[in-house]
């Protein structure tokens, strides 16, 4: 069973439909990759190599920037992806 859901054709990450064990082989866009960790449903896996500083695309939009080189099959999460969202500027002042 294909465990990776690709939400948009531009995406460079897939989302796990179910929990998987480390080392599970998946075929995405005719390319074979090996999931690097045991992960639960909803977690993201790189479906191709993502360079440091490159946009991580899910739903076809940028959800943040890669903090390091991310190989295909690697878990994409807090350790290698950072938000580029700047807090709405005057939320605290109420202006």
């Amino acid at each position: 069973m294909n465990e990776l859901l690709i939400l948009h054709s531009d995406d460079n990450v897939g989302v796990l439909k179910n929990a998987v064990e480390k080392g599970v082989r998946q075929v995405v866009r005719d390319r074979s990759l090996v999931v690097s960790d045991s992960l639960s449903m909803g977690h993201k896996v790189a479906i191709r190599e993502i360079r440091k500083g490159e946009m991580v695309l899910k739903y076809g939009v940028c959800i943040g920037l890669a903090k390091s080189e991310i190989p295909a099959g690697a878990h994409v999460h807090l350790h290698n992806l950072e938000s580029r969202y700047t807090q709405i500027e005057d939320m605290e002042t109420g202006q």
Partner: protein
């Protein structure tokens, strides 16, 4: 003659069409709620719904909501139930309904001899009105005449990856057929307001879209709910923009044509954001106290039906317009199937595609105009809630294409 694939509808005096011909029994203060509820009891299983406003103090928003809902295209007739001494502007409401040509009656409990006499009078009026409405002619309706809303509630990790993206595909399909679609929940869009802005019909609208999310952020912060967390990292969410995209995905991918507020019907076809957050500082509490408060605001914008995406398993429907429930979590669907219309969980459990489930949602929306019923309609759900709120008029940049309409 009916065209193949057409929906059956009732045409109203303002030219709009409804996919239901419901009688609403409307209490004008909580003190009249029991009488309204008793009036509809013999009509269980029929299109007779109770709506109402509990407060005794007048409020422009709730007055306008009642006027708009009582003349919604899905409504065929209205019985107003007043205690007598409440401060609701019932004469204004009565005249507003009467001007549309719908059957309308005002029953005042204090003048009608109290509870039992009022219940008897009310039931007589509803019976008479139902037998009148049964002969009302229907007309054909096509998808381009539909207004469809979407919300999510009882969400879990499956909502953002299966349910909302599938609902988004259904929106894209309906919009391609010329329908009008409305999404909302600006409080859940924080972090992706610039992504939303990129889909605006013009730059002035883009600013308004960012402003409406900013307003929501400020409102929740003022109420002491300013901590929009980074989402549930255990569920796999990493950034706030990703978390918000999960909710935003149900709007699909079309260009955004404008922003509306409650009681404003989109002036032309396309995709709109409904801004449900009150203007000014918080005065009456939360923007919306529960899912039904949001559903009824979508209906006030003319929604003929609402697509409701759930993960943990909501059971609600609504008065006036059917609520089509899309269950994103396959385990929830297996546990409570009679409450769900669409099993979007099969994207996760059976390799179904987002397009397959989007098509099923789109087809089930159309079927609502072809004698189809939602699960919540079959089960008799007619939830309704209306509270105090205040809004400023819509800014001129919110509907950029009105002049061209």
């Amino acid at each position: 003659m009916t065209k193949p694939g057409a929906m059956h509808a009732w045409r109203r005096s303002d030219g709009r069409k409804g996919i239901r011909n419901t009688v609403v029994v409307t209490y004008l203060v909580e003190c009249a709620h029991h009488v309204a509820r008793q009036i509809v009891r013999p009509f269980e299983g029929m299109d007779v719904h109770v709506i109402g406003f509990p407060g005794c103090f007048p409020n422009d928003y709730s007055q306008r909501m009642m006027e708009t809902l009582c003349t919604h295209p899905n409504v065929g007739g209205v019985l107003l139930v007043s205690l007598g001494c409440e401060n609701f502007r019932k004469g204004q409401l009565f005249r507003h309904i009467e001007a549309t040509g719908r059957p309308v009656e005002l029953l005042t409990i204090q003048h009608s001899g109290g509870t039992e006499a009022s219940v008897r009078l009310g039931r007589d009026w509803v019976s008479k009105t139902l037998s009148y409405l049964i002969d009302a002619p229907t007309v054909d309706m096509v998808p381009s005449e539909l207004i469809i809303g979407t919300i999510c509630g009882g969400s879990d990790a499956t909502s953002g990856i299966a349910g909302n993206p599938a609902a988004g595909r259904a929106f894209d399909m309906l919009l391609a057929e010329g329908a009008t679609c409305i999404f909302e929940e600006t409080g859940e869009l924080i972090g992706c307001e610039h992504i939303i802005a990129e889909r605006a019909a013009n730059p002035a609208l883009a600013n308004e879209l960012v402003g409406s999310v900013k307003k929501a952020a400020r409102y929740y912060a003022d109420m002491g709910y300013g901590s929009f967390s980074q989402g549930n990292a255990e569920g796999g969410l990493t950034t706030i923009e990703e978390k918000s995209m999960g909710a935003y995905a149900k709007s699909g991918s079309a260009c955004i044509q404008g922003i509306v507020k409650p009681c404003i019907v989109p002036p032309k076809q396309g995709l709109y954001l409904l801004d449900v957050v009150p203007d000014g500082p918080p005065r009456f509490g939360f923007p919306n106290i529960n899912d039904n408060a949001e559903i009824i605001e979508l209906i006030s914008c003319g929604a003929h039906a609402v697509i409701f995406v759930t993960g943990r398993g909501s059971v609600v429907g609504s008065a006036i317009s059917p609520v089509l429930k899309v269950c994103a979590n396959p385990e929830t669907f297996a546990r409570m199937p009679e409450d769900m219309d669409v099993n979007a969980g099969r994207i996760l459990s059976e390799n179904a595609s987002l397009e397959d489930v989007g098509t099923e949602i789109r087809d089930k929306v159309i079927a609502l105009g072809q004698a189809g019923q939602t699960a919540s309609e079959r089960l008799g759900h007619q939830e309704f809630v209306l509270t105090y709120k205040s809004f400023d008029p819509l800014g001129p940049a919110c509907l950029p294409n009105v002049a061209a309409a």
